[in-house]
Amino acid sequence: MSTFLLDAQNLGISFGGLKAVQALTLQIPPNALHGLIGPNGAGKTTAFNLLTGVYKPQTGSMTLNAQNLMGLPPHLIAKAGLSRTFQNIRLFGELSVLDNVMLASHCRGHHSIVATLFRSPTFLAQEQAMRRRAMHLLDLFALAPAAHAQAKSLPYGDQRRLEICRALATEPRVLLLDEPAAGLNPSEKQALAKLIQTVKAQFNLAVLLIEHDMSLVMQVCEQITVLDHGCTIAHGTPSQIQSDPRVREAYLGEPTPTPAGT
């Protein structure tokens, strides 16, 4: 029995000969803000795909709140309390902003087809509750005025925030954010950092954050895991990571001397 909310041990997967992720261990206590960093192609997104069931891990084990997640399909992992955003935004573009968020609360309800066809009182009450909750979330993200616009019509930064908003609507215990600050300007990034912390406190969840922007990561994360070529090369607090020689090598060993990729 671990004290960790999310306890993933020794996760691994290879594609053909490429070991995309090897022996990845992530142990995240409740309410933690954990960073997952590494150069391009290090295997960060693949780690998310393993955790959320997009790929089945070939090795290892993972539990959420002592519930086994290994081998579960993605929708059951979402129901268990793991929710994510995507590096390349994957909103339901043709749907309204509101519908995007309402859809995500699906796994918390019952959806009998008979109740739907006859619009039973419980069905109507559930729809109303979903809508109300979605509007509250949108309000928190200052997206409520655009609730009836098509998701794809939103400006880029709003789309990124809508993805976080949608992920929250599944009522997760752990929120996985894949490069939420990508493409944002410095002031938007600051607002995002604040938002992540607010959300974490308000919804009482743990956050696992993939991010290339080092100052953002160092600012908000309590613990950081560093991947390179699928292997975990370091693990620790931001200051430990900053002074770790292997991390410096992984980043500075690249032809470009800047620590942050794109």
Binding site: P74, L91, L95, A104, C107, T116, A144, P155
Partner: protein
Amino acid sequence: MPSALDATTNAQLRRPNLPLITLPWLACALLGLAMLMLGRFLGSYQETLMQQVGIFAIAAVSLNIVNGLAGQFSMGHAGFMAVGAYVAAATTYYGSLLHFNTAELQPGLFNFGHVLMLIGLLAGALVAAALGYLVGLPSLRLRGDYLAIVTLGFGEIVRVLLQQTSPQVNGKDPAEIAAFTDAPLRTLARIPLNGALGFEGVPAYATNLWIWTFVGITCLAAYRIKESSSGRAFLSIREDEIAARAMGINLTKYKVRAFVLAAFFAGIAGGLLAHAGVTTSPIDAGFQRSFEIIIVVVLGGLGSISGAVLAAIVFVLLPQVLHPIKDYRLVIFALLLISMMLLRPKGLFGVREIWNILPRRAAHTKPGATP
């Protein structure tokens, strides 16, 4: 802060709720009424046309559930229709022989013949839905073209199987009727659906009143599905399967559910067709009719229920309007389709309904000050 929040919430909540309940009812009722009134003034030929429009509308609206909402490209919809048609036809025909000792149409506004038709419609729809379940299962593994080929194959299998059925009991021959009523089960076990010749002589109980009632029921059901959590689940699968799964949607369940619902209402369309005074033949299960329904759905807009009904009307009536220049009507129809694809690739209405086009535009521009 809470009051400001409630104000926006309520404002946002109110608008989509009102048209949800009243407008589709009104639209269906008005459309049905208009059709009925027209029927009073027009001849039997026009009445036949209206029946065709109605049946096409049900077929298109039902296909729209799986093709338009859930985004699973099904090319075997006529197969489900044919299954419904044959089950309903056999129920009414053989039921009439047993009960009335004849397959002739029984006079009157409502009699046991109509009850037989309704039982047949339900039975046909249920059998079609069961097959929809079976055909829906491969959609979990197959996408796009591959799924299209499997569903196409389904329609063709139905067609070929129907061609193998044994001759029908002749409802005009008292000796055959007597032999049938003596041992109905033994006769039915031969599956007497008349093979390639097509099932004939089903009493034509499906008047425009019945057909357009079912158009209304189907549209209402489709609309309620679309504007529900299940409808959002369908649309999310159409938009992005990976994101839908990650947000907790059980792809298996909802893809199969879309197929079952679509097949159920296709079965009803088929059942009505069988009672509309035409011979039900195996060809009806073939890909030509499936394509016709697909064209109607694409014309109307993938996901738009009112669009599908409108497109069904256009599809059936346009060739009639173009009759005087009938040498060119196929050309004109093809040109129309092509220009449609170029100008409005999402169909007339896209995923929206007719009554949503204007208000949605307004809503789009109103909150211009997005932060």
